[in-house]
Assembly symmetry: D2
Homo-oligomer: 475 residues x 4
């Protein structure tokens, strides 16, 4: 089924959730200035599915329910699915200039699909079947599914079992399900999705088996607590939720999600103590998510490139060669990252489960290209805009009866734009330059060092050694 | 005279200033959460002058009043002054992790000192004497002097006279002085200094001579209007002025400064229509300010390096080689920038006025090293900290009676720190990663492209060509 | 037909060519130490076609002669052809660690195929048919076809017609054909191929129409003169053609090719004064050749990575983390370039002619990734090897009866290799570090600045601008 | 005394040395095409001392013999000496575009001066006095002193004593001196200097004490064997010693130097088993040599910048903005490296011995800037020149009566130069782009990874940590 934004909001509005924002409990979260933009972002993933021009990317047919579904709930049955998945990520990022909140859920479902198949085959468990039932359920109702992955980690030199209940763990195994306790941090969109799938964040060993757990919950079920991230951008959104805050869809809204002894029935449990599969699941997920991330970054860069060009026109510098050079540089960084993603998709492989997995080498390399590309894009945008990107007066100054005329006069750029439009754009630039994105770019898809470990493993270095031995006739 | 922080605040408090913050007029600016940190930052420039360990850097003897003065008001009479000036910049930046607000004023005074000497010599004007009297005045009272430089620029493809009163200009010349009209943007600290010196922002030609103007005003004199920059960090400081906002001294507070027909008496005018000296003055200022900027950036980097190391300890990762590598990388970038500054100082030249000027080639190169160094430092800091640097809950969440215990438990790192201290540090990292600094680093001391123009001019490329001709015996 | 290396050498040996090497006329070029490695390299393109493991990449079916042909003579009839073409380039580069000499010819044939189709359609010429006949001919005989493209350019600030017969031009149009005069520089392998196809090197306007010429000649036909490049590596190959010179296949052997009034019959002429198609042809060729270049660079990098790992083992440093980091860095650079190539292939488009063309944006971006990747790979290899890569004694020193024992003893590394093998590898490293490759990497596929022009044109920047306008509700 | 080039050559000519070049024993080395350029290079260090314009840099007064000496033999008695030493390095590199061969000797003498003072103070040895006598001797005769440092290292995972006589060691201690055995590799200029000072290459422990040895020998004394490096450039210099080989002074000529049981009298021994001072000596030397290296690299870059500009004029591209940008980029890289060197000099410290030592932090950072700067300079030069830098025909082709006219015509650039001059310049570019320099730049002053170890140690990271604690009021 293809649901609507309205239906999604209605479902969400009914939920009774325990939410804290900057130390205060929030009752009507749907209209809260920090939460509404998240809902609108997710809303767009529903809206676009009804636009003819995006239908090919947004909608596909389910192999499980044999009807059209939103691609964010799809399991990749052919290589082309991988490519469309990438284009989906880019499309949303370029429309939102922020998170769409449905990527991680989608990526976990696919990673679980591949991993549970292998688990069942070897361990004679029946997680795969359960998962298929679960996927069928969310597809039938077109539910928004988010993912919870990143454990708070305490002392990183210690493994989970060496610490005092820091990582999310199974505290009880009952006849009808399990009880879990712990916290996941920086879960994007957690509060306002229908469903959350949970998985471990690192490889685990036998002593850590209580932490080897994957499952799905209905968002806002009993004993869940949500604490919104608090950064400067959230303050601004609370104070001036209008265009002063730059992006109508806001920044990436993440939550500290506390599982204070939450019960999960068995039909929603997809891993339970199979510690030896934690690293496989993490690796499959990382592979998919780093892949998708290249589309996400390219979509963000699209808005940065567009803003760069528009600002150059507003400033009267669009024809300066050093300005054009910088825009081309941004394009190169962004498209190199995306091209590497495309290569990962096109060179993807079909797993035993039938689900396609992107080429892991290129997926990991694309992640290493994304950060410098986005970082450089942001620096170039700040360069093109001028210092005003962080020092401009506000919309309220512009609208103030005493000083508005001065702002109107002095903040004007070239004649192609009104002061108001230029200020809107300036605030959008501030959103990129002085917002929380760089932090997201650094750590989204894992810290910058982790792909190197995968790349070393995947690069067939010894085979290349043999090429040289053969060439030089060395024994 | 060496003034105290208390005396400085008393002077400032008496001023009647027209200040707008986010669209609202502010009456008691001294206690305003966005303004107080600026006052405290400037306050530290007074306080440190009384600390024995910093006296050699903070205090020197005036050649004009023959008594100890704060180095921020000194004209460089010997090469060593240049070096100490650089160390002064680094010291303050490393103590404040934000602007000290007295650099630009100091740099303009020195640039004017050199330039007015040349003007007088050729044009038989008497600006130099006036300036000396003015310097004597501010030194005698240890006044905080800021500088106003950056014109709003409208359409950058047009020169000042081709536009409609955008750049600051002389609107009237009277017997006792001049009247000026226009706006300067992003003047750091403008509101809360004793004095402001004003100069042009670009080279000017004859048609632009009304814009060739330099002078000093008492801050807050008649017809001046100040509008505080509005960015997300300012919102946060207003909402949570405590440690939640990361840096007790706040971010760099800049103002849109509107000169709505302001009268300036002749003894405070240092350039009046001598358009041919605008570029000389700008060039001298840029040279000095880019030089000083290398110390400023290195001081900021000191706090980033310190935060990186501390966070690694708090996260339990201080011994990981990839973490150490990143810190060393940050050190290298920062110290290369600073070393280039040092070279500019040590290779400085004595101008005809007697004032020393840093080597322009190295001063400009140091500026080009500063941006990538600081940018990389910030990315490395985000990397070492983790995504939590932009997604952590708040101080208010920690102190909330219902959820405080969870925050306390789950935000804890290794045993070397309390959760509170780790969160303080996290918020300081947020300040760097998701604050307005990158914008400042891009444009402080001029946009990234301008030093290249100077470098090309200064590099003696044809002399090097002759080296090759001689070597190869080419005619 | 699939020819053999032996047949190829026999054909070549019969040619009577005017060849000069370092100022001397060479009669028996087949055994000349600078030429033999080129013949061996081309020979491998024939040999590998008979190896079962490479057949899928080396051999395909011709749409013209309906029999198996060497892929170097194939016109791309489906997308998969593009991908296999890329893999072909990588395979050969990784086997040869130098040029295979058949890429440019292949790429010109495909570019001509697309361009002549368009020309004929608009201009009612019949070049396309001629070209098909020509392709049929070379396929039937499995001829080695090289390409001549790069004109000597004299004063680059002047166009061809403003100079004194510098660019290759048509000097006479006769009933049976045309006469051409001029010189092409750095044509790889020119002397020892069966055929050479010639095309312009830059966009041309009407005044330059005499330079708008494309045709094929039998290599070594009347009035052709070949002058071998002379660089240090060629000297070394002449002095010590054995393993002392590092790569048995030598460096990329290019020639200055002089057309001293050469007659070309009409059935071998594919462009004759249609100046308006020069830029189209150049653009199509560049697109294809930059695409293929990403495979070529990745293949070279494979041998550099292999040599890096092997040398680390020989030096006893294979487990040092900073060594491993460098190898991973090389892998990342190389694979990013290759992935970008793959993306260009997979996102290729079918032209009207039926021939597939790689995506131009990604093809151009891959070129910009190739140079820094290869450069960095070489620097890392030098780093891992040690200064000995340019300072080692020679094979002749090792074999000298008086000092051989010392060399044997002191040049030994770890126990995993003999001194002889280590020295072979050292000489291979010298080949990369101190050979002419960097020059080739800089200019192969055009100078580093040209792709930027294409990228700017291809990047749909205004569309991205509209994304932002829509997002911010800007008119 | 200030000696002349003629006197130097006369001294050298008398030496009876065992030299092997590419497997052959060489008798008259003075005129050998690979050796003569080395002699000419060293000769210039004598010649320039007599040129008035360079006297201030080339000549100073000795504190030991109270007369003018060549600065290459000076012990730094004041800070200004450090700066002039740096300028000396740059001057020679910019005149020679290759090694001057006297740097390492000079740097070892200064490092020994500092280290032997400390050794004597603690160990009550009398090395310092001996060294002063030795320095007095070389100063009185203005001898060319080279340094031998880099041991062949065998298996780098093993220390010297774990291997089979690979590193240079003391094999016998006699009444009148010691006997040493081993080999030093890549000693620049070793054969044709008057004297060689020898020191260890790495830190040593007690088991390695036989390898802790430093001494001076008269070059070419009994049981010494010299084997010239063999790389492609040496082949070319042998084949075409004229301008075809690019640089009249040749490339950096290094030797494998074999000490086959060489006797050293006590008055020339400066360390003998004091293993605990090996690392101190190495560290002092590295510090000085990396410092000096920044001047050396900048001098090389001067010739590259000059060649870039000249070639742009010859090619008719001197006004293209992307060409100018590249030259400016090269200037920036080079001057940043040199500025960092200057900072190291100006921030130098006086050691107990009275000799000045550059600031170690900046010296090490300058080394890390030198490699990318020189590498980038070379790539930019190749870019500006065109592929012709590695593919041009030869001087002999130009002078060949049959084809000379073609070369003359087709290799011509713009009218500002003759073909001959353009080809001379092309060959000079080839020398940089395809010569052994990159290898030298990578490993000169130690491998690229070693400075990082020093930087980490020198950077006061914990002090910076305390800055942050104080700022945030963290305990």
């Amino acid at each position: 089924m293809i649901s609507t934004k309205e239906a999604y909001i209605e479902r969400i509005s009914k939920k009774k959730q325990k939410l804290y924002v900057n130390g205060k409990k929030v009752e009507n979260f749907v209209e809260h200035p920090n939460i509404k933009p998240i809902i609108d972002s997710i809303g767009l993933t529903y809206d676009l599915a009804f636009k003819e021009e995006y239908r090919d990317i947004m909608v596909t047919n389910s192999q499980f329910i044999s009807e059209p579904i939103n691609r964010f709930l799809h399991i990749y049955t052919e290589k082309e699915d991988l490519i469309k998945r990438l284009k989906l990520a880019r499309l949303l990022s370029s429309k939102l200039a922020t998170c769409n909140y449905r990527c991680v859920g989608c990526d976990i479902l696919n990673a679980l699909y591949i991993t549970t198949y292998e688990m069942d085959e070897l361990l004679k468990t029946n997680y795969h079947e359960r998962l298929k039932n679960y996927i069928t359920y969310v597809q039938k109702n077109d539910l928004a599914v988010s993912g919870a992955l990143t454990d708070v980690r305490g002392d990183r030199s210690k493994s989970p079992h060496e610490q005092d209940d820091i990582y999310l763990k199974i505290t009880q195994t009952k006849e009808d399900g399990i009880v879990v306790k712990g916290a996941k941090i920086c879960q994007s969109g957690a509060l306002v999705v229908d469903e959350t799938v949970v998985m471990p964040t690192i490889a685990l060993n036998q002593q850590d088996k209580a932490y080897a757990v994957s499952f799905a919950i209905e968002t806002g079920c009993e004993n869940m607590i949500y604490v919104l991230q608090n950064n400067a951008y959230e303050s601004k959104k609370r104070e001036t939720p209008d265009w002063e805050s730059g992006n109508p869809y806001g920044d990436r809204g993440t939550f500290l999600v506390i599982f204070d002894n939450v019960f999960v029935p068995w039909d929603r449990v997809f891993m339970c103590e199979e510690y030896q599969y934690a690293s496989v699941l993490v690796s499959n997920f990382s592979n998919i998510h780093r892949y998708v991330g290249s589309g996400c970054k390219a979509g963000f860069a699209d808005t940065i490139i567009g803003a760069s060009k528009l600002m150059a026109e507003y400033n009267g510098t669009a024809n300066a060669s050093h300005i054009t050079d910088k825009i081309v540089e941004t394009v190169k960084g962004s498209e190199a990252c995306y091209a590497c993603g495309l290569a990962a998709g096109y060179e993807g492989v079909k797993t035993k489960s039938g689900c396609w997995l992107p080429n892991a080498l290129y997926a990991n390399i694309s992640k290493t290209l994304g950060l410098p590309a986005l970082n450089n894009a942001i620096v170039n945008l700040a360069d093109i805009t001028g210092g005003v990107c962080v020092t401009a007066p506000s919309k309220n100054d512009l609208e103030n009866p005493e000083i508005g005329q001065y702002i109107e006069h002095y903040l004007k750029g070239s004649d192609v734009a009104t002061t108001r439009d230029r200020m809107k754009l300036i605030k959008f630039v501030e959103y990129w330059v002085a917002g929380p994105h760089l932090g997201g770019a650094v750590h989204g898809g894992g810290s910058p060092s982790t792909p190197n470990i995968f790349i070393k493993r995947l690069a067939d270095i010894d085979e290349k050694k043999n090429l040289v031995k053969e060439l030089l006739n060395i024994s």
